[in-house]
Symmetry: C2
Subunit: 200 residues, 2 copies
């Protein structure tokens, strides 16, 4: 866990702008509660059975979220550069995770630990902004999840894949197909068949 360079801090600050803007005094306070972690490929940010103790922001690299089901690996989500990463339920409730989060390549993540977040939420100098920050991030991901649940309710796997072809460039270009299959809720073999069906 290292400190962040000013270049790294600037990238982070710029990405937060769409949620909340910090003034200089706030930013100094805020950044005192951050650290930086570097993950090698395949290293874990979170593991099933353990509590996810950090809320993170992917500076460089990418991660995948996966479950182990009957000994098999099932990928459910990804975070890319300049996106947040956490096993939200575990982080927020303090319960053990039921999934893994793993770096897919060398990955740098800005970390906010739960104790540090709680300190900021309790600090009158930062409390209001942190509540707002938390609200807007939670709302953003709530909307993502709402869309994702609706896709399972209203679309077939083939329709979900076609939609991903339209909108999911980064996922499609950077992830192996069996991860994408899991993400769509089907097996890799089934995705391969859907691809064949579509090309004809």
């Amino acid at each position: 866990m290292d400190a962040l360079t000013s270049a790294q801090l600037n990238v982070f600050r710029e990405s937060l702008e769409k949620y909340v803007s910090f003034n200089e005094a706030e930013w100094i306070l805020f950044t005192q509660h951050l650290s930086l972690a570097t993950y090698k490929k395949k290293q874990h940010f979170a593991e099933a059975g353990s509590i996810c103790r950090h809320f993170g922001f992917v500076l460089t690299g990418s991660v995948r979220y996966y479950h182990i089901i009957d000994g098999n690996d099932v990928t459910g989500y990804f975070s890319f550069e300049r996106e947040f990463v956490s096993s939200y339920k575990s982080f927020l409730t303090g319960e053990p995770c039921n999934n893994y989060i793993q770096a897919l390549e060398p990955t740098q993540i800005v970390l906010i630990s739960k104790p540090n977040l709680d300190k900021m939420l309790a600090n009158p100098m930062l409390a209001y902004k942190m509540e707002r920050f938390g609200r807007l991030i939670a709302e953003h991901y709530l909307i993502c999840y709402e869309d994702r649940v609706n896709s399972f309710i209203t679309q077939t796997p083939e329709e979900r894949y076609l939609k991903l072809l339209e909108t999911g460039r980064e996922v499609l270009q950077r992830m192996p197909q069996h991860y994408i299959a899991n993400f769509l809720g089907i097996t890799p073999v089934s995705l391969s068949r859907i691809r064949k069906r579509i090309l004809v």
Copy 2:
């Protein structure tokens, strides 16, 4: 749109306690921004194509969320007494809904309009608490949706139904089976077969 009785306000206040506690001054301010709507059976709280302009709390009754897909009705979610109700994405972003929310029985809903919520978020007397309130509610539903997405990724329809049998008493007892089937991401015929399979 009526005013609320003090009995109704007390029910609401008590339900909010698990998110945030208002002092008397705050409560008075807060309640000035509420109204009450009564829905007859089958009346709509939100409609596809229109903006969902309210965040609601179900005082009595229940609602279902549904989509129209190729002329068919697909139920995706429910809210029961003392739960919140809204088409979050539409409410938060101001975009038109893509689903309907309909009363399943005579239903009373406490309403917070978007303009009223924005006023409270801008009012220094309430801002902090409202940000916190919003954060905790968004986090709560984020966790619900996270679980729901994971159920689609990691479980078969049969497993989802078995899980619902363990945990979803209210849904199972009060909803017709074809709504439950949609909620599980399958057709009513398929749920009927799963039920038969399980009983043997």
